[in-house]
Symmetry: C2
Subunit: 570 residues, 2 copies
């Protein structure tokens, strides 16, 4: 490929984005941002994406069959699983204008995942015990109503994804296949150059399972996930589910002070409040109200400095889903504006759950359930009964302990590159999908689903593999293997030599990007090569004569090689 014919250009002055992958991929001409979280893949970017997907495809083909499901679906399918009204990243389509509406006013769901599509198809074809297990996958564009899209290809509103669905006649068989997929995923991440720095992490099991689901997380400074790793047990959790013990408070000797309501106009948030009240943050309390699928309102209290884990709350309260209560609900329950909820004087129908960080507190603050007011010097046993039970409801934070062995967690950032879910019977039940066993009885079908975001992986690769000058692609996904630079190409001898090298590589079907531009300096060409990040750089110039200067992208040394030696490099 001639660089001069490549659509898209490097642009060292392109906008800086707040993520490395977006910035480098835009500067190097791999992607173009259409809007926040929505990108065009330019030829260089599409080459990388295609290679990533081809690696995924080749491993998936060993354990399943490829299909291609639609992006839009009738709402009825999503109503049947009760996800139409609960998945907060779900989008639907409507006619774009009045003329379109007159033609066809129907609304369709824009699938963010495909359990609702594949389950009815499987049901149509397979219902005998002899048919199981089977699995299908697709590689496809997915859509998410993402509020914040700010990490380049790592969090987008539209993205490429491989999703695999498996169907089993028993939970044991699902578990067996689950392990097969894990191995397949390890193969994929190894081939993508991410094997060493990726680990299997326990994450939310959703309402599919009492167990956890699993995420493949790659250690990455700019990742959006926070991993809690306990070395002695060799166990890793996503922060959202990491069981945690807060460090103990040292307040045994404190005396109980008189309860007091203090005005703090528009003081919301524990940090600001602690400052205002001149108390440590640990003395404050965060109280959040949630709604769940049973239309209950639930209050959760954690010690100031902690956040509430919705996932833990969901599990503890045995809810299918929970959502932060809407403003109008908060107002009606607390009789106050949002921000002043507290654990004193809540209506009886609101059940209060206390996190274990609330244990052994003295003289703590809580919202007064009165606009602009906060209550201080609250004490259990005096101002409200000592709680019968404490729960683990908080988002773990650095310094917390793993409850099983009371060891301190190692905490680091990571980027999710894959996930696997034991869906069990959630979707098969919703669609009334059972099988007939060898005695003619109807039995439940167990399902798993397994995702890898291919475009997200492209972003993660850039985050992991770059230096100050640009990207450093792993060979397996590099857009080209060789970056050939011709210098002094006004010189006929050089022109003919570099042309020969280019032709030889092309004839041998070796991927080469030839920077044939005549109006660029050597410096500009070298800088572009570093930015683009192709693993092997070749330079032909007056100085190199009949030889070729060879340099690896991630090394400093250069070598003079013959064309034959170059061909033997790969």
């Amino acid at each position: 490929m001639l660089y001069s014919k490549l659509f898209g250009k490097t642009n060292k002055n392109a906008k800086e984005f707040n993520s490395i992958n977006a910035t480098l991929l835009e500067k190097a001409g791999f992607i173009d941002k259409t809007m926040a979280g929505v990108y065009t893949f330019l030829p260089l970017g599409l080459r990388v994406l295609t290679k990533i997907e081809d690696i995924i495809r080749s491993e998936m083909d060993k354990i399943s069959s490829e299909v291609f499901m639609p992006s839009i679906a009738p709402k009825e399918l999503w109503e049947q699983t009760q996800r139409l009204l609960t998945i907060d990243v779900l989008m639907k389509t409507v006619p774009a204008n009045e003329f379109a509406k007159e033609k066809n006013a129907a609304e369709y769901v824009l699938n963010s995942t495909h359990e609702e599509i594949i389950t009815p198809i499987a049901k149509k074809f397979y219902s005998s015990y002899k048919d199981f297990p089977f699995a299908v996958y697709q590689i496809q564009t997915k859509f998410r109503n993402e509020p914040r899209a700010k990490s380049g290809l790592m969090r987008t509103r539209e993205f490429r994804m491989k999703d695999l669905y498996s169907f089993h006649s028993s939970e044991a068989d699902l578990k067996k296949y689950y392990e097969i997929v894990k191995q397949s995923y390890w193969n994929i991440f190894k081939r993508l150059g991410l094997g060493k720095e990726t680990l299997l992490v326990l994450a939310s099991g959703g309402d599919f399972t009492e167990d956890y689901s699993h995420e493949f997380q790659t250690r990455c400074e700019t990742g959006e996930d926070i991993i809690f790793f306990e070395n002695k047990s060799n166990i890793a959790y996503n922060r959202e589910v990491a069981p945690s013990l807060a460090p103990k408070l040292n307040n045994a000797s404190e005396k109980e002070l008189p309860l007091k309501e203090i005005e703090g106009k528009e003081i919301i948030g524990v940090e600001e409040l602690a400052k205002y009240l001149k108390i440590p943050v640990e003395k404050t309390t965060k109280t959040l109200l949630f709604e769940n699928d049973r239309s209950e309102v639930i209050a959760i209290a954690v010690r100031g400095g902690y956040d509430v884990s919705e996932e833990k709350v969901r599990k503890v309260t045995k809810s299918h889903w929970i959502k932060l209560a809407r403003a109008k609900v908060v107002k009606s329950i607390t009789k106050a504006e949002v921000g002043y909820a507290g654990i004193l004087n809540l209506p009886k129908e609101v059940k209060v759950y206390m996190d274990e960080s609330m244990r052994d507190r003295k003289n703590f603050e809580t919202g007064a359930n009165r606009t602009h007011y906060h209550t201080i010097n609250v004490n259990f046993g005096r101002d409200l009964p000592e709680p019968e039970q404490f729960y683990d409801l908080k988002v773990a934070k650095e310094g917390d302990f793993y409850p099983e062995n009371r060891e301190k967690y190692e905490v680091f950032k990571a980027a999710e590159v894959g996930n696997i879910f034991p869906l069990n019977t959630k979707f098969t039940k919703a669609f009334g999908y059972t099988y007939t066993d060898n005695e003619g009885k109807q039995k439940p079908i167990f399902m798993g689903s397994y995702g890898i975001g291919s475009s997200r992986i492209m972003g993660v690769l850039v985050e992991k593999f770059h230096d100050n000058n640009g990207i450093i692609w792993p060979e397996s996904v590099a857009p080209f293997q060789f970056h050939l630079i011709g210098l002094d190409i006004a010189d006929e001898k050089v022109k003919s030599q570099v042309g020969k090298v280019y032709k030889t590589l092309e004839d041998k079907n070796i991927e080469v990007l030839f920077d044939d531009r005549e109006d660029k300096t050597a410096g500009e060409k070298f800088a572009d090569a570093d930015l683009i990040g192709i693993p092997h750089r070749l330079v032909v110039s007056k100085r190199t004569g009949a030889k070729i200067e060879y340099k690896k992208r991630d090394k400093k040394e250069t070598q003079l090689l013959s064309l034959e030696e170059v061909l033997n490099l790969l």
Copy 2:
């Protein structure tokens, strides 16, 4: 591939759809209908689709670069071209539920085409005369708010498409590239097995050009397009734009009768009306009201039996777009319910255009602009002035003449398999995209766009290539080259022989679908093979011994061949 491991099954009892391609593709296990106009490609179908797209890709790579643009886009881009509110097949996305809305209430356009995306990207990169021409394409899923989706893969709400966009520094250069794309398209259709029966047809130029655009239309009984072909001039038009002369009326000797209003309660539509009034359909008049981009209301009158061509009306009235007037507009103009519009007594601001089929009429009917009433015995010169000018505004029909040489058209049905548009400066102007010529002056940029619907082609191929027993795939896109059937496989000898044939083909990377099912009769296996339509059938049985029975899908004769001879077939 083992048939027993293939996801999806043949189902001869599957629902009959009102299109051959949907019926056969569902019965043979290539696709599964998720809803009207939305399909899942099962493994067999995906193989065919991928082959079609690979052929398109290999030809496109010779004349352009592949990119991958997003499906969703900000509304602003579509507002800039004023298409957001006018394209009646356009859809947008909105949050699917209240929780999603609270997270991100934004609406996005679901792209039905990508001029709005590619033009700003091109503008970002290329603005010097030296940069032109260039062209990019993508193969991608597209969305259309289709009111009637009833022709299987030939008209869907979600479909696969290759779209190519080219950019030029002059109209002449665009025309040159236009011819290159035509040749590329001919190569593609030839490779797809559609070369012979496909023709280049003149179609609407939209508001991009005074000229026509071009469609590649494949002769097809079940196609949705009607082609008007004039043999002597060797010219073909899509019906929507076919210039036409109606057969002359033979009423010169008729006497003028007295004008009369006749009640015809709820008699709407010329056929019904003619019956009711006991006059020939040719005596009735169809009057339609349109709105256009200048907010004008326009009345169009054609002789009963003809329809109005919106495209011709658009051109004659020099509108960017026209739409059938909304009901409320019709009511306010005619002071009557919809269905009783006529050419007498319309408000002055409504300009009336008469089709040439209105010429030389006597005693004709027209709507009375009064609910339930029709006026008969209307005569030009007496009841309203003789029109100064007649236009060609009607949809041509069988029996019409080509105006240039007054020869009768040959009329046949066809399916559109590709289209090419000279967009000229419509989009570059909308985005303020110009280039600097070699004298430093800003010049307009000319654009072309070129589409091929890959999933639609899959449907057309089935419509063209099938018999009573099933599909007959062209070799270039068949899901597999060989369909291997093992009969009597309980017999060890046969089992070993058929296994050997399968392994040999697989080892040589020859695509083979091996029907290894033990619970099916020979008849069932043969029927399935015919239904699936793989071009070469191989049978191994007790009877064939060490040989293999070979049959082409579209032939009756069988041959006994050695394995070596089989390998030499391809």
